[in-house]
């Protein structure tokens, strides 16, 4: 198992996932729809098929906030 942190809507969500888990799978586990977010690692956008590594800090930016 590996430890990863997801920053989402001003929350810091720590998770333990098995090695090889993708961001897409992590989002599904956390019930976050991948269509509603952009994914960043170190402020750089990355695909949601990225395989997580131990200690990864990922940001999921919510984009569906318009009004």
């Amino acid at each position: 198992m590996i430890n990863v942190t997801l920053f989402y809507r001003n929350e810091k969500i720590k998770s333990k996932v098995s090695e090889g888990t993708t961001i897409e799978e992590l989002l599904k586990k956390l019930k976050i729809n991948r269509e509603t977010v952009l994914i960043f690692k170190n402020k750089e956008p990355i695909p949601d098929t990225y395989k997580l590594k131990d200690g990864d800090k990922i940001e999921a930016m919510l984009i569906t906030t318009r009004g």
């Binding site: 269509e35 509603t36 956008p45 990355i46 695909p47 984009i63 569906t64 318009r66």
Partner: protein, 319 residues
């Protein structure tokens, strides 16, 4: 590391096409899609004067940025931008500030119009008034949906000011998600008349008398998913406000969530809905022309703006 076909590091996986894109190829693909959409639907023509509705959000900023690139070298098309201040407080002040900054950087003339200017009050005051008036009444007896008041007033101002400013077209930042949400909303409400006016260019040709009073609207981002306009705005470092409207809610947002759940399970479903609708549109227009063609068309008795009744919705809800 996932790579783009060019060998560079991918920043995005476009699931409905099954391909990875680097920053450059992502940007190129968005700009090329917009150019193709404009050409496909003949959205621009020589002599046009385009009014860009810019809220300061990601979609309207992106469409202005891309079209500024396309239009800047053209001497035969004029354009300007405008923003509407609905009176929703800090949220709108901040986003209009962003819109002003963008226009200044791009060298585009920018105007601001407010609800207060046209109706004597903004959304905040209006919703307080509605809350008082609807007290004691049952749901369904009174319109309490903020988005209804806001969209009616906004449409009224946009059409009136752009017509008075001699615009030949209004360019809006509606993306694929917005379009598909509207298609489903019209379907659910059984509103074929409104559905017949949808599509890449708003078409009032069915209502010939009203044609001259309405400024046609074009939507060059209608084939770009919302997530991709957001990513484009981010990688191009555009001045964009991501804040949430304090009144956001209503049916559109249930449909938005439903469509996102569907897209997650079946990538490409939003495009399928759009394509199916586009194919059905001529038939919808034919039905509406047959059924509603004889409907009396008029101008509002109070304000002179176009309406299908005696009094337009803006006068009905805002006076």
């Amino acid at each position: 590391m996932q790579k783009c076909h060019c060998g560079k590091k991918a920043i995005f996986y476009r699931r409905y096409e099954g391909r990875y894109l680097c920053k450059n190829h992502f940007v190129q693909s968005i700009e090329s899609k917009v150019r193709k959409t404009i050409a496909k639907y003949r959205m621009l023509k020589s002599g046009d004067r385009i009014a860009f509705g810019i809220s300061g959000g990601k979609d309207s900023t992106t469409v202005l940025y891309i079209l500024n690139k396309i239009l800047k070298p053209r001497r035969d098309i004029e354009y300007f931008a405008f923003s509407i201040d609905e009176g929703t407080g800090e949220y709108r002040k901040k986003s209009i500030g962003m819109a002003k900054k963008t226009c200044k950087e791009l060298g585009v003339e920018h105007h601001v119009f407010s609800f207060k200017q046209f109706f004597g009050k903004g959304m905040k005051e209006k919703m307080e008034e509605v809350k008082k008036q609807s007290k004691g009444k049952q749901t369904g007896q009174y319109v309490t949906e903020p988005c209804t008041y806001c969209s009616v007033a906004r449409r009224y101002i946009i059409n009136k000011v752009t017509r008075e400013m001699k615009a030949t077209k209004i360019c809006l930042g509606h993306n694929l998600d917005d379009e598909v949400q509207s298609i489903l909303m019209n379907y659910i409400r059984g509103d074929l008349m409104r559905a017949s006016r949808a599509g890449p260019i708003t078409d009032y040709s069915l209502e010939k008398e009203k044609g001259e009073l309405f400024v046609p609207r074009i939507k060059p981002l209608r084939e770009i998913p919302e997530r991709e306009t957001a990513l484009y705005a981010y990688v191009k470092k555009l001045n964009v406000c991501y804040d949430k409207c304090p009144y956001v809610g209503g049916m559109r947002f249930f449909i938005r969530d439903f469509l996102n759940d569907l897209e997650e399970r079946c990538p490409g479903v939003k495009f399928s809905i759009l394509r199916t609708f586009d194919r059905m549109l001529p038939a919808i227009r034919e039905i509406v022309e047959k059924e509603e063609g004889s409907e009396r068309l008029s101008v509002c008795k109070k304000c002179g703006e176009p309406t299908s009744g005696e009094i337009c919705k803006a006068c009905e809800l805002w006076e």
